[in-house]
């Protein structure tokens, strides 16, 4: 069978079973350490830098196909697109002038009300390098990393709304967990009624769920959910999702509310990373109950006093 080897009468190292046990235990140990602690992040970064050139190499065919497709776009499609864009531009310009008037008015009102102006968040552009190849997870990798001051926890948006959150950074890449990732949660506010809640990802690419809402909650189909900005992680007023279905079954304590993410979670190449987060004043500490030890000390002190 093993045609190229000379005959050996002695064992070749440990038996397959011993190897299986050794490497399985090693894998399980790594799994345990990686899921519970943060020790392996630096090792992961070193390996990620090693394989980075190859990852870029595999992304090349797709990029090349895209550029070829752009090259062969016909004049006709370009013309129609041009007219469409022109019309869109006219409509937008009209809206923009209205918006400017409103902005000016708003600024004046804010000054009058002695409020701090709304913070402008610095953003940086990033491009999707590739989509996660693990079917269980909703993640992207974008081409800005810790070299460009991207930090875990920063929010990623596109022109329609929140796409996700940076969860891990490498030197030149960072990993974005999409809002539709299973159990990813975003604190939101209903734009129409002002109701605050938390929206959860479902693991499905175009579905999110609003859980633990009472049957009587003021939510109807078509409501737009925007970030509330209360947690200090997400900037306020970014659109997140739109309510697509509300089921109120009195047999259950909570209403079943299904939403659809507004951002093109699987549509774009270019995304924006919101890099400055508003500085919130520190949360006041909860009042501490005096412990038994302190009480006793106090009593002793009192007794000694007279």
């Amino acid at each position: 069978m093993d045609d190229t080897r000379t005959l050996r009468f002695f064992n070749r190292g440990p038996s397959p079973v011993a190897r299986l046990v050794f490497f399985s235990v090693l894998s399980l140990l790594l799994l345990f350490v990686d899921s519970r602690f943060q020790y392996l992040e630096s090792a992961r970064k070193v390996l990620a830098v090693m394989i980075y050139p190859f990852q870029r190499l595999t992304a090349l065919p797709g990029e090349a196909l895209g550029s070829v497709a752009v090259y062969f776009e016909t004049q006709e499609t370009l013309l129609t697109e041009n007219t469409q864009l022109r019309q869109q531009h006219d409509a937008d310009a009209a809206q923009l002038s209205q918006l400017q008037a409103i902005l000016a008015e708003n600024a004046q009102l804010r000054v009058l009300m002695d409020l701090k102006g709304r913070v402008d968040y610095p953003m940086q552009m990033a491009e999707i390098v590739y989509v996660e190849r693990d079917i269980f997870k909703r993640k992207l990798l974008v081409n800005k990393g810790s070299q460009a001051n991207v930090m875990p926890g920063q929010v990623v948006v596109d022109d329609f709304g929140v796409v996700g959150q940076v969860t891990r950074t490498y030197p030149w890449l960072s990993e974005v967990t999409l809002v539709t990732d299973k159990d990813h949660s975003v604190p939101i506010q209903n734009q129409r009624s002002g109701l605050r809640a938390v929206v959860f990802g479902s693991g499905d690419i175009n579905e999110m769920a609003l859980r633990y809402m009472p049957v009587s909650a003021d939510i109807v189909e078509g409501d737009v959910l925007v970030t509330s900005g209360i947690d200090g992680t997400y900037p306020p007023n970014l659109p997140v999702a739109k309510v697509t279905r509300v089921e109120r079954d009195p047999a259950y304590p909570f209403a079943r509310i299904t939403c659809e993410p507004l951002a093109g979670v699987d549509r774009h190449r270019a995304l924006m990373i919101v890099s400055g987060l508003p500085e919130l004043p520190e949360r006041p500490e909860a009042a501490v109950e005096p412990t038994a030890e302190q009480e006793r000390a106090k009593k002793r002190f009192k007794r000694r006093k007279p």
């Binding site: 045609d3 399985s24 894998s27 350490v33 390996l47 990852q55 595999t58 989509v131 996660e132 891990r168």
Partner: protein, 172 residues
């Protein structure tokens, strides 16, 4: 196909290390292509297939240790937990090594039927870890095991063809 492939009548070049490494490299590259959506669910695991090929055909060259190492790199590239792919490939390589004599007795179609449970076991190990950590399993993930088993025949033919000695053009 059924009796066109007879192993003992065929002379294959000894697999040199460069060729093994190159085939694994190509498989890794194929796995890292930007698969997406249903294509991702149906994507055969090229790395698992090539590992299994070498484990069944050259069990003393490619073993569990190398499978584990490849798995670690796959874990980094896929941003899965450290050890998740490594465990799956370890189980796969063990299965391949234990069954290597048996698998080689059959023709290619029957080999695919032997390979399928091994792949399923490896996919199962990966999914089980995911289920333990995250609490759910995406069932369409297992479709990949079916497509991988279907790809076994063409991939074996390709690798065997590359290992066959070239005919010398100056030969009489």
């Amino acid at each position: 196909m059924s009796n066109g492939y007879a192993k003992d009548q065929e002379f294959l070049l000894p697999a040199n290390t460069g060729f093994i490494v190159f085939s694994l490299f190509v498989a890794v590259m194929l796995n890292w292509l930007p698969w997406h959506g249903w294509a991702l669910a149906l994507r055969p695991d090229f790395v698992a297939l090539v590992l299994l090929y070498w484990c069944t055909h050259k069990p003393h060259r490619i073993g569990i240790g190398i499978a584990w190492l490849v798995g670690i790199f796959a874990d980094v590239a896929d941003a899965s937990l450290f050890g998740q792919h490594a465990l799956a490939y370890t189980v796969l390589a063990f299965g391949g090594i234990v069954l290597h004599r048996r698998v080689q007795m059959f023709d290619l179609r029957q080999q695919s039927l032997h390979v399928f449970p091994l792949l399923l076991l490896s996919y199962g190990a990966y999914a089980a870890v995911h289920w333990q950590v995250r609490g759910f399993v995406a069932w369409e993930y297992f479709l990949g095991a079916v497509t991988s088993a279907l790809l076994w025949t063409p991939m074996t033919l390709l690798l065997q063809a590359l290992r066959r000695p070239r005919r010398d053009p100056n030969e009489l």
